[in-house]
Structures are given as structure tokens and as C-alpha cells.
């Protein structure tokens, strides 16, 4: 049993990294606009499929395909916000939530029209198999793609944390989250700040999607499963809090992989495990691990 431990830890880390990349955008949007964007997971899906198109169909070099994909998804996120979500910004959060479910279905339909509804992969027949490295007498096998994945996620999350904490826009962003009217009175362009959030969040999700595409097959519905995990992660960690999203993603990533590896529960129960953890946590800590204390919120 114990000999598979290093491999399980490695897979848990990879899962956590991807969930974090997606959860961060979800939590930033929630922090500012207070709605859960169900189309956010589709940004990961669209990113993954764009990379496929650029790599396999257009035969672009990897770095170019990678950049083009996440820039295109960032623009897609900004355009969706400007065209659709901006219109209902002042409505009850239920409206944008329902609309986002529709946007999610629409994006899936477009991808199915272009790429078909089946399963595809970046690996084409005749491709070189990935380069692997072995540790612990072959008990831990790591591919070059996985190292890239962890490194990219790590660098991006540190960059995001620095950006939010130190940059002027990062501070404006927290001001907009606190109070949009006052932020405008202070001369902050609220629309632009929200565009930056959507662009940034969508690009991070797209990168998450491209990274997971190297590990698994692509399906047009992959965004939904990713969004479910990211959603669970950010509720676990405390909504609207970037560090909470990271912590929540680690808990989800590790517990689902450990439970599947070391208990008789079959892998098809993955989502059920995620929600079971979520429900248990919500009973113990209703506001998430890093969320504000409900009583303190009420007394404000």
C-alpha cells in the first residue's frame, strides 16, 4: 500500500494546482460581483480546445499556441462580461447565475459544433511518448509535462498574489469589491477593473484547462466537472478569498485522490467524494475555513 504514496501525493498536487487556477477566477468574480459564474469552467474547456486546434490543426509551436489560447480566452471572458453580465450587474445575483448556466451550455454547443462531441487528446498517433523521470525505485513516475504544469501554476499564483497585494489595480480591485460607488467617486474606473478581473480569471482558467488537457482526454463537458471542483474548493476555503481558494483546492485535491487510492471507493465516485467533503465541512464551518465569522458579519 505504502509504496504508491509518493505517486498519490504527486497526483494530488497536480489536481490541486489545476483546481486552484480555476477557483481563483471564480472567487475573484464572486468577490466583486457576488455571483457564481457557472460558465467559468467553460473557460478552461475552451482554452484546452483552442490549444488543441492551434497545436494539432494549425501545427503552431507549443509556446505560440499556448499564448494565443490563453489570450483568446481572456478576450472571450471580457467580451462575455461586457455583452452579457454587465447588463444584469445591478440585478439580484440569481439572474447572472442563471444566465451563466446558459452561457456555459452555449459554449459547449459551439465547441461540439467545431470539434465534435467525442473524446480527443493532444497526443496523436505517432507522437513521441512523454519524457518521464522515475524516483523511489519507480514508485513515483513524473512526466515532463507534469513538471511544467506544477511550475506554471506555482509561478502564476505567486504573480497573482503579488499583483493583488502590491499593484495599484490590485488595491483598486479590493476597493471595487468593497463598494463600487465609492470606488468610482475615488476616480477608479469600475468597468475597467471588472474587465481586468474577467480577463485575468478567464486566462488562469484557460491555463488550468490546457494543463489538464495534457493529463486527460478532452471532452466538451470537462468544464462542468472542473467548475464543480473549483466551486467546492472556494466554498471550503471561504468565498471571495484567493488564499481560501488555494487551501480549499489542496483539501479537495488531496482528499479525493487519497480516498480513491486507499479505500475501496471506486474512481467514478470522485464528484460524490468532493460533495461529501463539502457537506461535512459546511456543517463544521459554515463560512469556509478562511471565511469571516457569520456573527461578526451580522454585527457589522
Amino acid at each position: 500500500m505504502l509504496e504508491i504514496l509518493p505517486q498519490v501525493i504527486w497526483y494530488s498536487l497536480i489536481a490541486s494546482a489545476i483546481y486552484t487556477l480555476i477557483a481563483v477566477g471564480l472567487t475573484l468574480v464572486f468577490g466583486i460581483l457576488e455571483f457564481i459564474n457557472f460558465a467559468h469552467g467553460e473557460m478552461a474547456m475552451v482554452g484546452a480546445y483552442l490549444l488543441l486546434a492551434f497545436l494539432v490543426n494549425f501545427k503552431f509551436p507549443f509556446w505560440l499556441a499556448f499564448i494565443l489560447s490563453f489570450v483568446a480566452v481572456a478576450i472571450l471572458g471580457i467580451v462575455l462580461e461586457k455583452l452579457i453580465f454587465k447588463k444584469v450587474r445591478k440585478s439580484h445575483p440569481f439572474k447572472p447565475l442563471v444566465i451563466s448556466i446558459g452561457v456555459s451550455a452555449l459554449l459547449q454547443a459551439v465547441v461540439i459544433l467545431i470539434f465534435g462531441g467525442g473524446v480527443t487528446s493532444y497526443l496523436q498517433t505517432g507522437d513521441q511518448p512523454a519524457q518521464t523521470f522515475e524516483f523511489f525505485n519507480g514508485n513515483l513516475v513524473i512526466t515532463d509535462h507534469q513538471i511544467l504544469l506544477i511550475a506554471v501554476a506555482f509561478v502564476l499564483l505567486i504573480a497573482l498574489a503579488l499583483f493583488l497585494k502590491f499593484s495599484k489595480t490590485g488595491k483598486s480591485l479590493r476597493a471595487v469589491a468593497d463598494n463600487k460607488e465609492v470606488a468610482a467617486i475615488m476616480g477608479i474606473n469600475v468597468d475597467r477593473t471588472i474587465s481586468i478581473i474577467f480577463g485575468l480569471g478567464s486566462a488562469l482558467a484557460a491555463i488550468g484547462g490546457m494543463l489538464i488537457g495534457g493529463e486527460q482526454n478532452l471532452t466538451p463537458t470537462m468544464g462542468l466537472a472542473l467548475n464543480v471542483h473549483a466551486f467546492a474548493a472556494l466554498i471550503l476555503g471561504g468565498v471571495g478569498n484567493v488564499y481560501g481558494a488555494l487551501l480549499g483546492a489542496l483539501i479537495i485535491g488531496f482528499s479525493e485522490n487519497f480516498i480513491i487510492a486507499f479505500t475501496p471507493i471506486p474512481p467514478s465516485f470522485r464528484e460524490a467524494i468532493v460533495f461529501a467533503i463539502l457537506i461535512l465541512m459546511l456543517i463544521v464551518k459554515p463560512n469556509g475555513l478562511l471565511g469571516a465569522n457569520a456573527e461578526a458579519e451580522v454585527r457589522k
Binding site: K168, T169, G170, V182, A184, I185, M186, D191
Partner: protein
């Protein structure tokens, strides 16, 4: 010169004329009081001036530019700033960050937003600290703004307006709910801003306070201007007394 003009402004909510074809102007480097009974439309007027609301009719001119229809943030960049009747600091930011956010010179190019320059940050914080010292709450700079006392938040709000580099200040009830010591601090701050050449338009219910600093008083009632004049003229104006106290019964 009139730095702020309101021309025939009108705003209805449903069937209620919150602002009813109201006109007035505010001279540069003056302290102007805006008074009126509760519900006269003073706060709605502030919302129309800084663009939180759009008027149904009429114009708002700032520095002779017609800004009707401009978004709030553009008016702010023209030099208009405001405090609120119910304080609205950014509670989740530190007191110092509340000031830094208000500074002009947002990165003009998008990429600059992603470059956290250490030195630039330190300069910004030093400048922000100067504003904190001006209003006398420098020792609270690193506390969460939401944890400051009511009076400190009030001072922070004024400091934040100053940090936007505004030259027109709309102050909504600066004297409400403050003790005499703090009231004096706020009065000194207002006089200091006036000395620096700023223009102040102040909504206030504390008459002795307002009459002691204002050069001109605008009285509003039922959404329109009822009387405009010096504090003395206003205090002796029978129509103003009537609006506040009701009509004397006919003998």
C-alpha cells in the same frame, strides 16, 4: 468664477419629484452650505452632481464643462470628491490603503498594473502617510479601516477625498454624530482646505457650525432651491423659517 453649476436639474422617482427643476451655482474657493428639511433632496442632489444618478432633465457643469452623462470616475478625475452621510470607507482595506487607492496616477498602461514596483509603492505610502498626519490619525494607518472608530472613519473619509487631489469637495453632514473636540478638528480641516484654494459644498443640519464657516447658504425645499444668500440673510428669511418650522397660523 462658478466652479460648479446646476441648471434646471430634474429627477423623479416614480411620481415623486425628488429634484424639481433646481438651479444654483457654487463659486470657486467658497464654502457653500446646502440646507433644507429632511427629504428636501440634498443627498439626491449630491448623487446627481457626482453622477451616481442621472438627471431626467437639466445639466451639471463642473469647471464650465457640461458633465451631465459623464460616468462618476471621470467627474472624480476632473477634481470632484465627496463624503457620505453614512460613512463609506473601504472597511476591508487598511486605513493607509484607503488613501493609496484614492491617489491619481493610476497606471495608464495595462501592463504597468502587473509591475509592483517596490520603490514606487514606498513613495505612495509616504505620501498617503502625510494625509493621515494632516487629519491626525497617522497612528491608525495600518489598522483595518472598518475597525476604526466612527470619528476616525469620518476623518479618514475626508483624507481620502483630499488624496484624490480634488478641488471641489461635497461633504454630506460632516458634523453629524461627532463630539465637540472632533467637530472642532473637522472645522479646522474645512478652513484649511478653503485656505488651500479648495471649493466646499456642505450639507449640514448643525446650523451654528455651518453658519460659522459658510459664505453662502442654499436652502432647498421639496426638491428646489427656496432661498440663496449669506448666512445672515438666510437666518432672517421668513420663507426659510416657514419651511423648517411650518406656517404660522393666520391671526
Amino acid at each position: 468664477m462658478n466652479v460648479l453649476q446646476v441648471q434646471n436639474l430634474h429627477k423623479s422617482f416614480g411620481g415623486i419629484h425628488a429634484i424639481d427643476h433646481c438651479s444654483f451655482s457654487v463659486e470657486e474657493n467658497s464654502i457653500t452650505g446646502l440646507i433644507g428639511p429632511n427629504g428636501a433632496g440634498k443627498t439626491t442632489m449630491f448623487d446627481l452632481i457626482n453622477g451616481l444618478l442621472t438627471p431626467d432633465e437639466g445639466h451639471v457643469l463642473i469647471k464650465n464643462q457640461n458633465v451631465t452623462g459623464w460616468p462618476t470616475y471621470k467627474r472624480a478625475r476632473l477634481g470632484l470628491s465627496r463624503t457620505f452621510q453614512a460613512i463609506r470607507v473601504f472597511p476591508e482595506l487598511t486605513a493607509l490603503e484607503n488613501i493609496v487607492v484614492a491617489f491619481k496616477g493610476h497606471p495608464s498602461k495595462l501592463y504597468q498594473a502587473f509591475v509592483p514596483l517596490k520603490k514606487k509603492n514606498r513613495d505612495l505610502e509616504k505620501r498617503a502617510m502625510e494625509y493621515m498626519e494632516t487629519v491626525g490619525i497617522a497612528d491608525k494607518a495600518h489598522l483595518r479601516a472598518g475597525d476604526l472608530s466612527y470619528g476616525q472613519q469620518k476623518l479618514l473619509e475626508i483624507a481620502r477625498c483630499m488624496a484624490t487631489d480634488a478641488d471641489i469637495f461635497l461633504l454630506d453632514e460632516p458634523a453629524a454624530g461627532v463630539n465637540p473636540t472632533l467637530l472642532n478638528t473637522i472645522k479646522q480641516l474645512i478652513l484649511k482646505l478653503h485656505q488651500q484654494g479648495k471649493t466646499l459644498l456642505i450639507v449640514e443640519h448643525n446650523m451654528p457650525f455651518l453658519m460659522s464657516i459658510a459664505h453662502k447658504i442654499i436652502v432647498m425645499n421639496f426638491g428646489k432651491e427656496l432661498a440663496i444668500g449669506s448666512p445672515e440673510e438666510i437666518q432672517n428669511n421668513p420663507r426659510v423659517l416657514e419651511a423648517y418650522l411650518g406656517k404660522k397660523r393666520e391671526e
